[in-house]
Amino acid sequence: MGSARSERSGSTVVPHGIKILIAGGFGVGKTTLVSSISEIRPLQTEEVLTDAGIGIDNLDGLDDKSTTTVAMDFGRITINEEIIVYLFGTPGQDRFWFLWDELALGALGAVVLADTGRLIECFPSVDYFERRGTPFLVAVNCFDGARRYTADAVRDALDLDAGVPVLLCDARERISVRDVLIQLVQHVMTKPRQNGLN
């Protein structure tokens, strides 16, 4: 993007939409996180998949139904009249990688939400963003009763690069989620801009 962020359509300001992905295993709290900070009740878009739309590699695990739908929750944070941040919860199941590719295109960055009780479930997300070169951080969702680990223990367990931020959060708390997003944007800004978006 150039320096001017919004465009004009006639006399109307067209906002610049910024896309941030919220990834992590199924049931880890992605929708909770989006709900905590979104100014609107999270909305849902869905994609209907047909056999024709599914790559060979993605047929594993799909049953014989000729169509299936994948719902994606998203929320919105209006920064000002020219900038709107959208948070997209990624589909939890690995078989929908091809939908991730579309979502990840042009995404500013990603939050990988992790549950220390089921840390293994965020491996695919970490792996995906590492391969893609999408800036991301790992946010460990510490809700009541969740097993507590230090950020360093999580970093070691996930074998993360030293540059990837790991922080603890509570996906139900607006301020906590806000701080996660601020850290993500700050992390993105440490990357050379020439690399662009993926």
Binding site: S66, F88, G106, R193
Partner: protein
């Protein structure tokens, strides 16, 4: 698809949602001319369309009087993204909307990201 004579199962299942109708709307077309990213914005041009528009086209147009993101317009009209993209490309071809795609090649300028950080801090 289930047997249509079975009145209890109009749709594939609860999760599948109303699949048949949306794809009937677009006549089975699944290609869309433009990408229509989920955070692309569409806005109605105010031109008056021909009589060939379907109700779904009109619902999208009504939602796009002010600039609206593709994701939001899809959620509001409760149609799958793929269907919405086809309908939007119809509207675009008829010059009833304009689309502002995000620049997917480079990330936003520093001042935009700083504005995002400041905006988040003020929440």
């Amino acid at each position: 698809m289930r047997d249509e004579s079975d009145p209890g199962h109009e749709w594939l299942d609860d999760e599948a949602g109303p699949v048949v109708r949306p794809y009937a709307v677009i006549g089975g077309r699944t290609k869309h001319a433009r990408q229509f990213d989920v955070v692309a914005f569409v806005v109605a041009t105010g031109r008056h369309g021909g009589g060939h528009l379907q109700p779904e086209h009109r619902r999208l147009l009504e939602r796009a009087v002010e600039p609206v993101s593709v994701a939001e317009v899809a959620a509001h009209v409760d149609l799958p993204l793929g269907v919405v993209r086809v309908l939007l490309s119809d509207l675009l071809a008829d010059e009833l909307i304009v689309v502002h795609e995000p620049d997917g090649a480079t990330r936003p300028a520093e001042n935009v990201l700083e504005a995002v950080i400041n905006g988040l801090r003020s929440l």
